[in-house]
Structures are given as structure tokens and as C-alpha cells.
């Protein structure tokens, strides 16, 4: 048996659209098989068929040489296939241990259906220890950060004793340090003969850990090759169908005057005495580990939460921001970390989302000028290259990259001078990422000031003019572009308690 899993000649259509066209995927036991492609290439549909969420129109699935039919996700799990989703599948009101064992809780007595809570906690504790995850098994999910929730998701998939684990963007919300832990665990799984299908847009990761790479484009299989036989550029060319000479297009910038000065801003224990200056036309990157307080800093500046100390000066004048409304009036924009929760109204359409922060400017006497609104929406759909059937399409139908562009459009319409971006390219395909980088460059050129919070080191180094590093709520270092290096950033980002920042 050369291959553990074979998905042969899979074809799947939805009304009017062929999503997968004769795609074949072969995965060996104990290998890490990367599945790559732009958003819309068909990766998630293929995985959903594997998980039993969809049924293929044509084609077959074989496990260990025998054909199988997968009825539903439960059936898939029963056959040893499990998936770690990009959109976290956690139950917020339960604690970590309960989430890990959900649906297969260890039982004290089969008859009475009593859950053996001690065993559950014990097992969870064991896994956490092995993986060096410092989370309390009893911690309610709600209290965990996005990154911590992801780690719990990882443990869930690992503990279900699966033979194939599909990992969908597993490191999108965790830092390099935590990713290393994951990769170590993946190594261990490989040795046990577990096959891993790894979906990610982070190229350096892909090349670091995968054995084989399969590329899909527009629903078709483009190639399947051993990772060692591919280069960066070749891979991108396969994915996108054209040369992309630079992943991070960066132009020379000439930052102008100081537009904002943040002085000794504090917010309880989350943000401690942060000060910095921001110039028009510059891109200021903020790097750091998860929990460093970067998002919290952004939220405080934007007025989402009240500050407990310090002041903000705009063009030299002190301003008082108590609510996002005030920030918007001062021409500040915040693209938040979690677009689904705080960036988009998923019950509304593209146009309604784009106009949301600038409604009063599109209205006369409180009545919305529908024509103006439509025109504005269409302008941004064109300018940002948002792929959508129309401005009236429900925004929840768009892919992640296009959704993010809608969020950007909303803020651009509000005509900000300062734009704060918190993880703007998380979970987005290469093509859209590049669009966003180009956009950032363009905005900086127009004289806007940009703050870019990112956990992806290559990204923050590729786009920023200067980087602030934060650790445990404080700014621990400032690095200018010519001194950029991953080691330097990591050093500042992981200053131990008690150590003095440079």
C-alpha cells in the first residue's frame, strides 16, 4: 500500500459553478502533505468532501486501498479522519478539557452516562504538558486568547487518535515560538505513521515541514511534487499562474511630519506606559508575541476601551478619545484582528458593510442617498479588486480575503489619516495579501500614517519602515528598517520578567 489516502478524480459542482474538476490527491502514511492554492482554488471544498460535509459528484475515496463512503463528519472521525479548522470550532462556555473531549468524554459509567471529569482533566493535563502548553485545563474557553484557543484545537485533533489530520491554517494566530511546538508534535505524529494534510499560506512554514506539496488552481490539480523539488517562485507561479517577483513589494518612503504622538498610554495591566511617535506617510510595524498587548494598545488608542493613563496628541494638540466615534472623527481607523466578530456585519451585504462607518457623510437630513452609497461601494469593489457578484451580495458569501477587503473599504471610505491594521492578512491567500500590501504602500504614499500589527515576521519586516516591539504590555525595543532581523525582534519580544528593555 503505497498511499494511505487516495481521493481520485474528484469532481464537485455547485449551482452554476464547478468547484473541483477531476482532482486527485494521494497522501502517504506518516507524511506531511501540503495543500496549496489561492482562495477559491478548491482546497476547502476538497477537505469538506474528505470530512463528509459534502459528497463528491464524481470520483472515489480510498483508505488503505479500499473504497469508502464518508457519510458525515462523525463517520469521518470514526474512520480516523479529523480536522482542525481555521475558524475555531470551540464552545466558549465550556472549559478547555471539555472542548478537547467534546463528543467523546471519558465515562465513569456507561449506563448512567456520567462523565469522568477527573480523567478528562488528567488526560488534558498530560497532553498540555507534552506539548508544553501552559493553559489550565479548567480554564473557560472564553478567557483564552485566540492563539490559546488554537492550541486547544490542536490538542483536540491530536488526542482523537486520528490517522489523518487535516490542519487548516493552524499557525495563523500563534507566534513562531508556539508554532515550533506544533511542528515538534507534527514530527511525533509522523513517526507514529499519521498523515497530515497541511493547508497554509505561509511559505516558509510549508517548505520547513512538508514532504509533498500539491497545488490546486481554479478547481484543478496543477501539480504534486516533493517539497525539495520546488522553489518559492515556482510554487507561487503554480498557485497564481503568473510570476510574482516580490512577495512584499516595498517602495522607498519619505515619512513626513509627526502626525500623532502617544505619551505614556496605559490600560491597567494590559498596556503599560507606551509612548511613540507616528509620522505621516510611514508604516510603523508593531511586533511581539501573542499576549504582548499590541491589539490592546490599538483598542485603547481607538477608544474601544478607556485608558487608565497617558495622553494622545494629534498634530500637537491633545485629544480625548472615549469612544470609537471620537477616533473616527479624528480620522483614525482600526481594522480589527477578528473581522468576523468586530469587523463585519455578517447579516448585511457588501454595500451595507462598506458604508457602515461613513453613513452620515452619505446622507442628507438623516436619509441615506442610495445612489451615492451604491457608487461608493462599487468604487471600492473596483479599486480593491473585491471579488463579489454585486454590491448587494451577502458579505458572508465572500472568501476571507475579499471579506478583509470589504473591511478595508469601509475604513477607507471614512477617509482616515491614521490607519491601524491588526493582523490584516490573517487567513488570506497570496494574491489578496499582495493586494493589501500594495494598498498599504499606496496609502503611505498618499501621506497616510499606518500602524501595522502583525505576528508574521516576514510580513512585518517586509512592509514596515520601522518596527516597535512589545512584550507584556510595554514597548521593549524600536528597530529601524536597516537593522531589521528576526533574531533582534525575537529578542525584544521575549524579554523575561525583570529584564530591562533595551
Amino acid at each position: 500500500m503505497e498511499y494511505f489516502l487516495e481521493m481520485k478524480n474528484i469532481t464537485k459542482s455547485f449551482p452554476g459553478v464547478k468547484v473541483l474538476d477531476d482532482v486527485t490527491l494521494r497522501v502517504r502514511a506518516g507524511e506531511v502533505h501540503a495543500l496549496m492554492g489561492e482562495n477559491g482554488a478548491g482546497k476547502s471544498t476538497l477537505m469538506k468532501i474528505l470530512m463528509g460535509i459534502y459528497k463528491a459528484d464524481e470520483g472515489s475515496i480510498l483508505i488503505n486501498g479500499s473504497p469508502v463512503t464518508i457519510q458525515n463528519p462523525r463517520d469521518a472521525m470514526g474512520k480516523g479522519i479529523s480536522m482542525m479548522h481555521q475558524e475555531l470550532n470551540t464552545v466558549l462556555d465550556m472549559d478547555a478539557a471539555e472542548n478537547i473531549f467534546i463528543g467523546r468524554e471519558p465515562q465513569k459509567s456507561k449506563l448512567l452516562n456520567l462523565i469522568d471529569r477527573e480523567k478528562m482533566l488528567e488526560d488534558t493535563h498530560k497532553y498540555f504538558k507534552e506539548l508544553e502548553i501552559g493553559i489550565d485545563p479548567k480554564a473557560p474557553m472564553r478567557s483564552l486568547s485566540v492563539a490559546q484557543m488554537q492550541l486547544v484545537e490542536i490538542v483536540k485533533a491530536i488526542s482523537a487518535d486520528s490517522k489523518i489530520i487535516v490542519m487548516d491554517e493552524p499557525t495563523s494566530a500563534i507566534t513562531e515560538k508556539e508554532a515550533v511546538i506544533l511542528f515538534r508534535q507534527i514530527e511525533r505524529l509522523k513517526k507514529q505513521g499519521v498523515a497530515i494534510i497541511y493547508i497554509s499560506h505561509k511559505m516558509d512554514e510549508i517548505f520547513k515541514i512538508s514532504d509533498t506539496i500539491t497545488v490546486l488552481r481554479d478547481g484543478r490539480l496543477i501539480c504534486t511534487k516533493p517539497a525539495c523539488e520546488l522553489t518559492d517562485n515556482e510554487l507561487i507561479r503554480f498557485m497564481v499562474g503568473r510570476e510574482i517577483t516580490e512577495i512584499y513589494p516595498k517602495e522607498e518612503s519619505s515619512p513626513g511630519q509627526v502626525i500623532m504622538e502617544v505619551k505614556n498610554i496605559s490600560r491597567g495591566r494590559l498596556v503599560k506606559d507606551v509612548s511613540f511617535r507616528l509620522r505621516a506617510g510611514e508604516v510603523l510595524g508593531i511586533a511581539g508575541l501573542v499576549g504582548a498587548g499590541r491589539s490592546e494598545l490599538a483598542e485603547t488608542i481607538f477608544g474601544l476601551y478607556p485608558k487608565t493613563g497617558g495622553e494622545i496628541l494629534l498634530d500637537g494638540k491633545k485629544i480625548n478619545i472615549k469612544h470609537p466615534r471620537d477616533a473616527i472623527e479624528h480620522k483614525i481607523a482600526l481594522i480589527t484582528e477578528d473581522r468576523k466578530l468586530t469587523g463585519l456585519n455578517l447579516s448585511a451585504n457588501v454595500k451595507e458593510n462598506i458604508s457602515l462607518a461613513a453613513l452620515s457623510s452619505l446622507a442628507k437630513f438623516g436619509v441615506i442617498d442610495q445612489k451615492q452609497e451604491s457608487a461608493a461601494a462599487n468604487r471600492y469593489i473596483k479599486e480593491l479588486g473585491i471579488k463579489t457578484p454585486s454590491e448587494n451580495t451577502a458579505v458572508n458569501k465572500l472568501s476571507g480575503g475579499n471579506q478583509q477587503k470589504v473591511v478595508l473599504a469601509k475604513w477607507l471610505l471614512a477617509d482616515p489619516s491614521i490607519i491601524i491594521l491588526d493582523e490584516p492578512t490573517r487567513g488570506i491567500d497570496v494574491g489578496s495579501k499582495r493586494d493589501i500590501y500594495l494598498l498599504i504602500n499606496g496609502l503611505a504614499k498618499q501621506g497616510k500614517a499606518i500602524i501595522l500589527i502583525s505576528s508574521e515576521m516576514p510580513e512585518v519586516m517586509g512592509i514596515s519602515d520601522r518596527i516597535l516591539v512589545m512584550c507584556e504590555g510595554m514597548v521593549t525595543g524600536e528597530i529601524s528598517r536597516r537593522d531589521f532581523s528576526q533574531e533582534l525582534i525575537m529578542k525584544y519580544a521575549s524579554l523575561r520578567k525583570g529584564e530591562q528593555p533595551a
Binding site: L346, S347, E352, G366
Partner: protein, 318 residues
């Protein structure tokens, strides 16, 4: 309504209710051509749908914003009693009881709104409390029995016709059109949908969520005040026990009309169909001699069906 390929597809979530409504009307017309289908009866249905319809408009605002108001029925009683006291005074212009009723409703609504927006209480809880308290207040203020002996002008508020249409229906149509306009065409309305769709996103986008919620509940209370006024005029008495359970019919009309209970979704004209549908059911079943207990069962089934359709439509969209 236009899918990926640009083809028009029927959105069951939005139009299912219209289909159900017309089907029901046609069935009843066939079963009872001499009674149900008579013009005077159809006008009666319009009249009977109006009070619930007006209440439903207020409820619609609240539900779209992601909340609920259980106190609307009690507000009907209190505002009706207060209006009736004013209407007992001969010679007092009829505008006085009208304004009094609206004011009472607005105050109750503001109390609810304050509780939800500024004290952070779940709407279900605070409006449950006001529902009980305001009912008690109505009994106290009225001394336990209906306030009667009201002026003719007050009775005329609901007893006249405008070019063949009962004036109650005219009030309903005006209020529902204004509500629809606010919800679809104004910044205020758009913000209500935004809050219901994603409160956090609305806040981040600069919307003053607290103030909006206070306004929304005040609007609902004011419309309940108007409904109370109309009930008092229609029965020519201010009864402290009036409106008992009316908030349920209003919620039913809104839900049947396709407004999602989770907020942020739904078309205003659905509420018209919801209110008419409920009135048609009562009217048709009364004429056929079916006891009101069976009517309750049937209403319950329809509400469940409406919520089910809403949830399935929602799941399909995701």
C-alpha cells in the same frame, strides 16, 4: 434574490410568508364565501389587524436591534387607563388623552431602554420586570376596575371611516410606512440593523450603541402607548386588564413576517403580512365557529414553522 450566475431565484426566507398568507386567504374564501369573503368582513380583518400591527411595528424595531420587549401588553393597559381618565373630562380636546397615552408609553419604553443599554441587563429580564410592575401600576391607578364614561370625540378616534377604510387601518398603514421608511432609508434605521447584526462591529464602526438602544425601546414603548390609546377608544373604556398577552401576538407577527429573532435581518413589510395573517386566522376560525383554544394551537404551529423557515434560510446562507 440574484444568485452567483445572475439568475433570479426565489428567496424562500423572504417570500414564503406571502405565499402562505395568500394561500390561507384563498382557502378561507372558498370554504366560506358568504361570510369570510364579504367586503365588510375583509374590512373588519384590516381593523382587527391594525392594533396588533401598530404594536408589531414597535416590536419590530426592538427585535431587529437584537432585543425583545415583553412589557408591551402591560403598557397598553397603563396608557389606556391614563388616556381614559383624560377622556372622561368633557370639553378637554381629544389631543390630550392622545399625548398622555404616548407619553406613558414613551416613559415605560425609556425605562426598558435604560435598563438594557446602560445597566447592561438582558432585554428579556428587564422587560419581564416592567411587564409585571406596569400591570400592577395600571391596577393601582385605575382602582381595579375599568375607567368608563368617555367622551364621544374619544370614541370617534377609532370609529370613523376615511373613504371607506376604517380609520384604525389608516393609522396602521401610516405607522407601518413610516417605520419602513425609517428602517430602510435612514441612517438611524441602518444603524439599528447594524447593532442587531453585530453589536461589536457597530461599536467599532463608531455607532453609539447605548444611545441607539435607548431610543429603540422608547419608540417601542411609544407605539405601545398608541396601541393602548386605540384599545381604550375602541372599547370605550380604560381597562387595567387590557392588552394581556398582546406582546406575544406582536412578537408572533414580527417573527412570522420574517424578521429574525437574533436581530439584524428582516424586511419591514413582512410585519404587515404577519399581522394580517394572525387577524385572518382569528377571523376565519371565529366565523367557522372554531374555539379560541384551537386557534392558539394553530397560531403556535405557524410561529414554529416561521422560526424554522428562518433558521433554515439562515443556515443555507452560511
Amino acid at each position: 434574490m440574484i444568485n452567483k450566475n445572475g439568475k433570479r431565484i426565489i428567496n424562500y426566507r423572504e417570500f414564503g410568508i406571502f405565499i402562505a398568507f395568500f394561500a390561507l386567504v384563498i382557502i378561507l374564501m372558498i370554504i366560506s364565501p358568504n361570510a369570510f369573503a364579504r367586503p365588510r368582513n375583509l374590512i373588519n380583518i384590516l381593523k382587527q389587524a391594525s392594533i396588533n400591527g401598530i404594536l408589531s411595528c414597535g416590536m419590530m424595531f426592538v427585535i431587529i436591534s437584537g432585543g425583545i420587549d415583553l412589557s408591551a401588553g402591560s403598557t397598553i393597559a397603563l396608557s389606556g387607563v391614563v388616556a381614559a381618565y383624560c377622556a372622561q373630562v368633557q370639553g378637554l380636546p381629544v389631543i390630550v388623552p392622545v399625548l398622555a397615552a404616548i407619553a406613558v408609553g414613551a416613559i415605560v419604553g425609556a425605562v426598558n431602554g435604560f435598563g438594557v443599554a446602560y445597566a447592561g441587563l438582558p432585554p428579556f429580564i428587564i422587560t419581564l420586570a416592567t411587564m409585571t410592575a406596569i400591570r400592577g401600576l395600571a391596577l393601582i391607578v385605575s382602582g381595579g376596575s375599568p375607567v368608563y364614561g368617555l367622551t364621544k370625540e374619544f370614541e370617534e378616534l377609532t370609529n370613523t371611516f376615511i373613504s371607506g377604510f376604517p380609520v384604525l387601518a389608516v393609522y396602521f398603514i401610516i405607522i407601518v410606512l413610516i417605520s419602513g421608511f425609517i428602517l430602510t432609508k435612514t441612517v438611524f434605521g441602518r444603524r439599528i440593523y447594524a447593532i442587531g447584526g453585530s453589536e461589536l462591529t457597530a461599536k467599532v464602526s463608531g455607532i453609539n450603541v447605548k444611545r441607539m438602544k435607548l431610543l429603540v425601546y422608547t419608540i417601542c414603548g411609544s407605539l405601545a402607548g398608541i396601541a393602548g390609546l386605540l384599545v381604550a377608544s375602541r372599547t370605550v373604556q380604560g381597562s387595567p386588564t387590557a392588552g394581556d398577552g398582546y406582546e406575544m401576538d406582536a412578537i408572533a407577527a414580527v417573527v412570522i413576517g420574517g424578521i429574525s429573532m437574533s436581530g439584524g435581518y428582516g424586511k419591514w413589510y413582512g410585519t404587515i403580512v404577519g399581522a394580517l395573517l394572525l387577524a385572518v386566522i382569528s377571523n376565519g376560525l371565529d366565523i367557522l365557529g372554531v374555539s379560541s383554544n384551537y386557534q392558539k394551537i394553530i397560531k403556535g404551529v405557524i410561529i414554529a414553522a416561521a422560526v424554522y423557515t428562518d433558521l433554515r434560510g439562515k443556515a443555507k446562507q452560511e
